[in-house]
Symmetry: C2
Subunit: 380 residues, 2 copies
Amino acid sequence: MHQIQRQQTAELLRQRGISRALFAHQESVAWLTGYAPPLDMGTNHFAGGPALVWVEDGHFTLIVQDGLAAHAGAFNDEPDGTLLTYRAYTVDGPSQSSANQAEVLRSVAKSSRARGMLAVEMDALTARLFEAIVFGLGIDLTPCDGWLKPLRMIKNAEEIALIRATCALTDIGHAAARAAVAPGMREIDIWMELQSAINRTAGHRVPLGNDCTAGTRAFNIGAWPGDVALRPGDSIIVDLSTRLGGYWSDSCMTHYAGEPSDKQIATHRFIQSALDYAIALVKPGAIAREIDAAVRAFIAKGGYPVYPHHTGHSVGTGPHEEPRIAPYNDAVLAPGMVILLEPGTYWPGETGCRLEDALLVTTDGCEVLTHFDHTYPGQS
Amino acid sequence: MHQIQRQQTAELLRQRGISRALFAHQESVAWLTGYAPPLDMGTNHFAGGPALVWVEDGHFTLIVQDGLAAHAGAFNDEPDGTLLTYRAYTVDGPSQSSANQAEVLRSVAKSSRARGMLAVEMDALTARLFEAIVFGLGIDLTPCDGWLKPLRMIKNAEEIALIRATCALTDIGHAAARAAVAPGMREIDIWMELQSAINRTAGHRVPLGNDCTAGTRAFNIGAWPGDVALRPGDSIIVDLSTRLGGYWSDSCMTHYAGEPSDKQIATHRFIQSALDYAIALVKPGAIAREIDAAVRAFIAKGGYPVYPHHTGHSVGTGPHEEPRIAPYNDAVLAPGMVILLEPGTYWPGETGCRLEDALLVTTDGCEVLTHFDHTYPGQS
């Protein structure tokens, strides 16, 4: 698993003349190794710091806390992988997890035969671990935050299979939301229906974002589900990301409690056409900022308020990845990229509509990966 | 809100001769300010680093990403508080959140009138932020990880009210689990029933741990809910922590699918008596390791396998806090502490039982804060 990612990384480091690197961002670690433990309670309470990957001479050493080693799967059996653990939860004394992790990292660094700069993800490494290798061993560092992002843009077959699976799970959530939306239901009620459907289908707890917000909320673009009951005719935006096998989806559907108004129907049909228009722009060679500009122009030309957010982005081991479909981005689309497009229009405090699909860029266009029902009630 | 915590912290720093400090652990930041944003997707994707609290001359500056500032409530209105934000999500260019956060921190540090060492939580600060103040400004640091833990042990009235509320919510979850447990139900089905009940009651998504594991699992002490269907007579351990208003609960109940066996009934009654015995030991002046030893001895004397985990711990802005009720701990209990006790006994792969209550240490004993039904089916 993830061997292609590691080979690409080893090659990148060679090209940059770097003989050793330390990755600490959870998205980098997941991409390099598949290690993606549950997120539900945030950072694990007993962790000494983030999980780490030390790379040297094409070999990858994954350092995780002992209690979560099961999430590292068979990494130790990989030809280019070694799994090291440090003691985190203890009963016989206070937890010394950060000191234990620093000690494991220090011994890996001390036994390093490579010389020269160590590339380090500075935004994710803790000051404690940084201190252990800089002041403890006198190793010179260079930041490598973001170095993996260009590699992560093109998904390999293994990754595409995982993203297909998480998109299918996301579709389950949208179907459950569709069945649940009705006057009197609260945002949180709808959320629990869709979360239950997703987790029961997966057979385990699935990390889940993003929004479940009634059109009548002042900030009706994106918000977590709350104690807000739908009234007849209210719109509700349901924006879902699920993480399965370490890979995220993204998607958005707008529902209506009971009968949508004429304005809502016209808006929904218009945003459907905007999404269709956007999807038709996704092909190899297309430029991110040009897609962004074209979709915004389509919305404006239709006489609708233009959304203030990005037009799209990618997903992978992170819920937002490059290339972003945003006004500044010169990135050129290529086969194997996964692109999410999310045109919308909003009247704050009144109603709004956003639709979002996940797409795989193919050799001559794109394939839609999300297959939930995009229609409003009564649409033929 | 949280002003007592800040006054205690300012006093602690004075006593230690420290004129300025930087707290970065999410539990410290929540304790000092009440800032406790959702955890569901782990670290916020757009964050530059952890939320920070800079303390100087009894004044507290909270630094958070702009998109989550609403979770800082009215901190800026506190007489001893200032809220600063940094730009995280952007559409007009790539997110520069870590650089933006470092810049805000650097300007706070540069305008500092205090001199001397800066106390820093090294286990939570990122290397990027560490570098910004050490190499950027040449400030000498001393680690302060764990300094707040002794202060956090004694809960004030505001905190006790929050812990009562989260324990009441936890009780809702246990009632839902009791109603759901039946042959054929899977661990994940039971979990979704209880999570739905908790979130619908709260009116929003509630961070939720810990275990939902059938007795027939090889590791039946603690595991996340899975695709494991209960057979008639199976035990299932449901260990729940909810976080409400930034404060965690903890608790555990053991249920049975259908009729418990004679062995399960005897075990359940015995663990009930062990919990009662343990609760009677909780009073001011009691020593943590002596409670731990007494409860283990009670289990052994009853002829049951002694649990391998700690006997208990506290909660607060973290799900595990001091004092831990563990073999090594000389901590002396005092009024205002919250203690969780969790005696259990396990036959791996067969069955097991654990019961856990939350307690508030009072002037002459303790008050039980969790009130879920502790009985097995048919117990009078």
